[in-house]
Structures are given as structure tokens and as C-alpha cells.
Symmetry: C2
């Protein structure tokens, strides 16, 4: 035993039973809202429990029931606001349901992934797992599907795993964005992308092409910059602007910020000469000059949806499904629509 601090010993249901003059099982039933307990007994037991300051021992309960009332979150080590926002949504939903949230950092690399799945995961006191997967998704974690606890994936753009997942409307959201630009009279809409090995950017690029097709506008390769493994540089953005677009849709807000900077340097007025738009609605979007038109990613909602799906799988054995949370166009000054 620890007994480090000389604090009084733990209060157990045995103590309550003694004080209330009933047996342990009766206390347990009263405390767990079982129906077959006398109303008067239940009340008395609860009063005594509160008086004695009893609280359940999660470990003992888990040992007996096999449930931990805890869900795990496997997430990359990052300080990107988007993942923090997803965690926000998850934490809010778990707290609302009286569940605990155990956060496990995911170290990159095959070795670390395998280590996690084979050694760390099985020993976790959790009822289910949410996988927050960055691009370059851990493939070994896929083994989870059939060996570990119920799991739900957020952002599995590649759909490589046979697991339920939550996604947002990247492609349709980007299409809506470009559609909006076209709707305000822009004819030469450029696309500034990046990291096309990333399925996110890929889907957004497809949404861009969808919108062009839909509007009967030609796809002009000169109006796209697509560095495969990074964001476009200022030089690349300069070349893009040299091709004469009247609007630039960026794959995410930070790229749009770069576009604004280059446009400013070259003396192009935004939005008069050039409309600029981004994607994600990051915290910096609203403070850009001019404030950036963008598409809000429903990160919090994705988090809470993942929790709900996971509980469905845990409690009702729901089969692998997927849930799509819609993005939302946010019109600000940079596109000239207002």
C-alpha cells in the first residue's frame, strides 16, 4: 500500500454498508441505479455514501465489469490548432457523457507504430480508441481493426483501413469555394496547392476541377502550382500570378497568406485586382489583410461525431460506417463579395 500521506483510508462500499445497516450488494445496487432496490433504502444508502465521501474505484470496477469508462485518443505530437480543436470536440463529448479521455502521443515511424500496437495498446485501460491520423497514415495501426478494442478513425482520407471513420467534405467544400468565386464574376481562377501526396490537398484539387468543369471554364495548367511535398514558395506564387489569374484559391489558409503577401509586394490590389481564398478557417484567417474568405472545417464536430460513433460500436456493436461532417463557406473581404 502507498499510505504516503497519512490521509484517512479509502471509503469503500463495505463502509457504507456498515453505516447504513445493509449489505454490500445492496449498496452497490443502490449506487448503480438498479431497479430492484427499495426507494427508501436507495435514498439512505446514497445519503450515507455522500456523507462518508465515497467515490468509486475505477480500477476495481474495471476489474469486475471489464469496462473502463475511458476512451483513448491516439494523436500525433503537434501543436497544430486543428488537432487541438478536434481534441476539444472529443473532450467535450466524453466529459458530457462522464467518460474519461486518455491521450496517447503517436511517434512517427514504423518501429514506433508497431511498438504501440503490440505493447502499449493492449495494456491501455480503455473501452475504445480514436485514431487521429496525420497524412502518411500509420499502416501498421491497421492491424487494430481486428485485434484491438473498437476504433474510429478521423481523417482517414485514403480509406485504407477497414474501420469506421469520420471525414469532412474536402472535395465538395472546395468546389463550393471555387463556385463562389466564379459566381462573383471571376473567370481565371488559379489553384495554389501543396503536398499532393497528402490526400487532403488531392481532394481539394479535385474539388477545384469539379467547379471549373461545372462552370464550363477550361482547366489551365499555368494557373496551378502544385509542389509535391511542401507549400509553394514566394517565387512559385509569383510565377502563378504572372499567368494572370483574377482569383486564387489556396489549398489551405497559410498558402493564401503567402499569396496575399506576394500580391501586396507586386502591388496587386486584393480583392479589386485579385480575389484570394483559403481553406480551413484557421485562427489567422480573420486577421489577415484583407480578412480571408475561406471554408470552415468542422473540427469540433468531427471530434464529437467520432466519440458518438465509437460509443455506438462499443455499446451496440455497430458495424464499420462512416460519417461526413459538412464544411461551411465563410465569406470575408478577400474575395470581394462584400
Amino acid at each position: 500500500m502507498q499510505e504516503a500521506s497519512p490521509g484517512r483510508a479509502r471509503v469503500t462500499i463495505a463502509d457504507i454498508a456498515r453505516a447504513a445497516g445493509v449489505s454490500k450488494p445492496t449498496v452497490s445496487r443502490a449506487l448503480n441505479d438498479h431497479r430492484d432496490v427499495g426507494a427508501a433504502t436507495r435514498e439512505r444508502v446514497r445519503e450515507v455514501a455522500a456523507e462518508l465521501g465515497w467515490f468509486p474505484h475505477a480500477g476495481a470496477r474495471a476489474l469486475r465489469t471489464g469496462r473502463h469508462d475511458t476512451i483513448g485518443l491516439l494523436m500525433p505530437l503537434t501543436h497544430w490548432w486543428g488537432y487541438a480543436d478536434i481534441q476539444y470536440g472529443i473532450a467535450e463529448e466524453t466529459a458530457r457523457r462522464g467518460l474519461h479521455l486518455l491521450v496517447q502521443p503517436l511517434h512517427p515511424g514504423e518501429r514506433a507504430e508497431r511498438e504501440f500496437v503490440t505493447r502499449t495498446l493492449p495494456a491501455l485501460s480503455i473501452d475504445g480508441l480514436i485514431l487521429l491520423m496525420p497524412e502518411g497514415t500509420p499502416r501498421h495501426v491497421g492491424a487494430l481493426a481486428h485485434t484491438g478494442p473498437p476504433a474510429v478513425v478521423i481523417d482517414d482520407r485514403g480509406h485504407r483501413l477497414d474501420l469506421p471513420y469520420v471525414e469532412s467534405t474536402n472535395r465538395a467544400g472546395f468546389r463550393d469555394l471555387v463556385r463562389h468565386l466564379v459566381g462573383t464574376g471571376r473567370k481565371r481562377v488559379a489553384f495554389a496547392g501543396g503536398q499532393l501526396d497528402d490526400a487532403f490537398a488531392q481532394e481539394r484539387f479535385e474539388g477545384y476541377q469539379d467547379a471549373l468543369r461545372e462552370a464550363g471554364l477550361p482547366y489551365d495548367p499555368e494557373l496551378t502550382v502544385l509542389p509535391a511535398d511542401r507549400e509553394p514558395t514566394a517565387e512559385e506564387l509569383g510565377e502563378l500570378l504572372a499567368a494572370g489569374p483574377d482569383a486564387v484559391a489556396a489549398a489551405w489558409d497559410e498558402i493564401a497568406f503567402g499569396v496575399l503577401n506576394v500580391a501586396h509586394t507586386e502591388g496587386r490590389r486584393v480583392p479589386e485586382d485579385l480575389a484570394v481564398a483559403g481553406f480551413d478557417d484557421s485562427p489567422i484567417a480573420r486577421v489577415m489583410r484583407p480578412p480571408l474568405t475561406t471554408v470552415r472545417q468542422p473540427f469540433r464536430e468531427m471530434g464529437s461525431a467520432a466519440v458518438r460513433m465509437l460509443l455506438d460500436a462499443i455499446e451496440h456493436g455497430a458495424p464499420p460506417a462512416h460519417f461526413t461532417v459538412p464544411t461551411e463557406l465563410v465569406v470575408r473581404a478577400s474575395c470581394g463579395a462584400r
Copy 2:
């Protein structure tokens, strides 16, 4: 029992004992690196355990030992990158030590705080708690000090609680920043603050005054903007610039961004006409135009330091102490020093 999925039943040390031809206690000792176990026995037990795919049941272990190998993190619901970075540091350190991290969102308000301390906290399966306290620190959580598990506070600027805490050098860091501006020849350094009820901004303001005093420069109220409960507006920043500063030190990076915007609108060149600097080294600092000189907050280090302090308190009963992590001046183009 759950037995939901027809997966094989859990492997316990009893299974290992049977397979290895020894008793349960011996298996336990072998698996826990007790000294009084024969080397050969230990090896054999370990091999069998690996072969059978055994892993410990955390709940059962906690029930017996009173330890959970888990620490709790109480943090506000936010997506601010700074808190995410602190969590990064905490998660990295706990993972390194084989500990688990249980994240508890802190809902604002006295009622929710009291609820947390009296109902949620006692039932958590944790050995210690890290309190990530936003401004307007929960006072009721202070009751933790003597009733709950060992706790460590991060960012308790007011030092109101009798708990160990981790802080960074806000005041000295800001003094260094202003000292740097003065060192490059600026004579009229302005301060753009905000939320002075917040101890952070207060300390930075004091650092600003320290540097002026040290340099023998007068404190001119016209060169400060100090909105009490928010960030300065563009109009307020315009008035500040009208007072003719040759440098502006902002209490945090986002304010500096606003200064850059206003300076640009008014046609002032940065850094030629006006040096601008911020504080925090947020992700947007390096992409501003020009890139922002600022002071890096050692968030990750603060997180890992908090874990170490907490473990000290848990394992060795270390008395309440405090630990200060130094900030670091980051010189970029906006101050003209290079």
C-alpha cells in the same frame, strides 16, 4: 463480463504460472524485476509471458498497489496553439516514462470547478495532477492542495495557490526584448498591451518599464495602449503610432500583427521607420511580413518540467517548489537588426 467479441479470454499470470510450472507470485516477481528471483526462472517466465501474449491489467494492478501509472492534465477547452504545445511537452515526457496521460477539460465557472474538485477529481485513476491554468485561475481548485493527489500548476502567475508551479520568465523576457530594441538605437519604444487583468500582460508591461528605466529612457504614457479587457483596436493602434514611436513592443504576437497592418495602411515602413516586436513566437510570427522579432515561450519545456516536478512530489514527497524556464529572444527582420 463483456465477452462481446468472441476473442480469446484474457491471458493472466495464472496462465503463465501454469505454463511455466511455477506459482503466481513468482511470475509476478519475474515480470516486475524483483531481485529475489532466479535468473533462469525469470527468463523462462518472460519467454512464456511473451509467447502467450500477456499484458498487465492496469485496473487490477491499481487495485492492489494503489498506483495507476497515470497522470491527469486539467486544461481549459481551447484550441490555442500554446496549450497544445504544453500538452505536447507533457505527453512526450509521460510517454518517455511509460506513464499514461488522462486529459480532463476544465469548464469555466465556479460551479463547474467545484463540481470537478468534489466529484470528478476523486474518482480519477491518477497518481498526480497537472493544472494548466488560464487567467482568471480557478480558485476552488486550490482546495486540491491538501485534499487531492499531488498537483503541479503551470502558469500560476498570481502565485495564489500553495502548490508547486512552473513558470517562464515573462518579465525578464520582455525586458530583454525591449533592451534589444533600445540596443539597436530606438529611442521611443511604445508598448501595445491588452487584458491587464491578466497577469501575463501585467508582467510584460513591468518588463517594458524595467528596460526603459535601465536605459534611462522616460516612461511616456502616450506611448502605451493598455485596453483592460481585450486587444487594442486598429483605431487605438493608430493613435499610438500618431504619438511618434520608432518602435512598438507588443504584449503578444497577434497584437504585433495588428501593428504591422496599421503601419502598412499608414505607409510606415517596417523596420526602417518603425521597429515591431511581439512575444510568444507563435506559428504566425515567422510568416508575417516582415518576419516578426519576438520572444519564444518554452512551452514544451514547461510541460516536461511540470511532469518531472510532479513525479518528484509523487515519488519522493518533494515539497512545493517552483521552476522557471527561460524565454529566448528570437531576432527576425521586423526589428531591423538584420
